[in-house]
C-alpha cells in the first residue's frame, strides 16, 4: 500500500516537473520572441513578465505558510508545521526575486533603484517578516513553543498581503497598476499571453518547490524522532566507530 502510494507520488512529481519545465520554455519563448517590446520603456519592460508572477508566487507561498500555521495552531502536527515552513521559505525566495527584479526595472523606468513607495515598502516589510520566520526556525530550535511562535508569525505575515495589494489604491505612489479588475493595461494579445503563461509557470514552480521542501522537512522530523528513540534505547547514532 505504502509502496504503491510512493510510486503514484513519484509519478505525480515527475509529471509536475515536466509540466513546469514545458510551461517555462513556452513562457520564455513568448516573452522574448513573440511579445512586442514596450513603446516607452523598451526591452526592460520584459522584466514585468517575471516580476509580477514572482510577486504572485510570493503571495502563494505566504498563503501556504498561513494555512500551515493556522492548522498547526489548531492541531499541533508535524505536517502542518512542515507545510508552514516550506511556504515561508517559498515566500522568502520569491520575495527576494521580487525585491531584486523590481528595482532593476525601476532603475530604467524611474531613474532610481529604490523609492519608499507604499507598495515597495509594504512588500519589503512582508519579506522581512518571512526572513524573521526563517531566522527563528533556523536558530531557535524545534521546540513546541518555538513552533507555535513561528506559526503566529506566519499568520501575521499573511495579514500584510492585502495591505501590499491595496497599498497602491489607498496611498498612491509610483508603482504601476497595469493589472486591474477591468481588463488590465496590456495592450497586445502576446503581452497578455506572456503574463498568463508566467502566472501558470510560477504557480507550478511554487507547488513543486513547496512540495519538495515539505518532503525534506517531514523526513528531517521523522529522522530526528528516530534518533531520539535510538537514544532512549541507548543506541548512539552520533558515536563514531
Amino acid at each position: 500500500m505504502a509502496h504503491a502510494r510512493a510510486r503514484v507520488e513519484g509519478l505525480a512529481f515527475v509529471s509536475l516537473v515536466a509540466i513546469t519545465a514545458i510551461a517555462f520554455v513556452c513562457e520564455i519563448f513568448i516573452v522574448f520572441l513573440v511579445a512586442p517590446t514596450e513603446a516607452r520603456m523598451g526591452i526592460v519592460q520584459k522584466i514585468f513578465y517575471f516580476h509580477v508572477p514572482s510577486a504572485y508566487a510570493m503571495y502563494l507561498g505566504a498563503t501556504v505558510c498561513f494555512v500551515g500555521s493556522v492548522l498547526f495552531l489548531a492541531r499541533s502536527s508535524d505536517t502542518a508545521d512542515a507545510i508552514a515552513r516550506a511556504g515561508a521559505e517559498a515566500a522568502c525566495v520569491f520575495g527576494c526575486i521580487v525585491m531584486t527584479t523590481g528595482p532593476l526595472w525601476g532603475a530604467k523606468a524611474w531613474g532610481a533603484f529604490w523609492t519608499w513607495d507604499p507598495r515597495l515598502t509594504t512588500a519589503l516589510l512582508s519579506l522581512l517578516i518571512y526572513v524573521a520566520y526563517l531566522v527563528l526556525r533556523g536558530f531557535a530550535g524545534d521546540g513546541e513553543g518555538e513552533r507555535r511562535f513561528a506559526a503566529a508569525l506566519g499568520v501575521m505575515g499573511a495579514a500584510n498581503l492585502p495591505i501590499i495589494h491595496f497599498s497602491v489604491q489607498k496611498w498612491g505612489g509610483q508603482h504601476p497598476v497595469v493589472i486591474t479588475g477591468n481588463g488590465g493595461g496590456l495592450q497586445h494579445p502576446a503581452m497578455k499571453l506572456g503574463l498568463a503563461l508566467g502566472f501558470c509557470a510560477f504557480t507550478l514552480l511554487v507547488i513543486l518547490l513547496v512540495w519538495l521542501r515539505t518532503r525534506v522537512e517531514l523526513a528531517t522530523v521523522r529522522l530526528a524522532r528516530a534518533e531520539r528513540d535510538a537514544i532512549d534505547l541507548e543506541i548512539d547514532s552520533k558515536a563514531r566507530a
Binding site: G42, V44, L104, W105, T220, A226, I235, K238
Partner: protein, 87 residues
C-alpha cells in the same frame, strides 16, 4: 555630418550662449542599459531559485548522512544484542 553640425552650431551660437563653466548633474542620469538590466533580473531570478535548490540538496545530503549513522548504530546494537554474553 556631425562635425559639420557642430561647426555650424559653434559658428552660429552667439558669444553669450557659449559654455563658460561645467556643472555636476544634480539628479541621477538615466544611463542604465535596458538589456543589461533585463539580463541581470533574469540571471538573479534563476540564481536565487538554483541557490534554494542547492540548499535543499545540501539538507538532503545531511539527512542521508544522519540516516546512515543511525543505520550503522542500529546494526551495531543488533549485533551486540544477538552476540552471546562474553562474561
Amino acid at each position: 555630418m556631425s562635425n559639420n553640425d557642430q561647426t555650424t552650431v559653434s559658428v552660429q551660437a552667439p558669444p553669450d550662449d557659449r559654455a563658460t563653466e561645467f556643472r555636476a548633474m544634480t539628479s541621477e542620469p538615466e544611463h542604465y542599459s535596458g538589456t543589461i538590466l533585463l539580463v541581470s533580473a533574469y540571471a538573479i531570478l534563476w540564481a536565487l531559485l538554483v541557490a534554494w535548490l542547492g540548499v535543499m540538496w545540501r539538507r538532503q545530503t545531511k539527512l542521508g548522512a544522519r540516516m546512515h549513522d543511525l543505520e550503522r548504530a542500529l546494526e551495531t546494537a543488533t549485533e551486540r544484542a544477538g552476540a552471546p554474553d562474553e562474561r
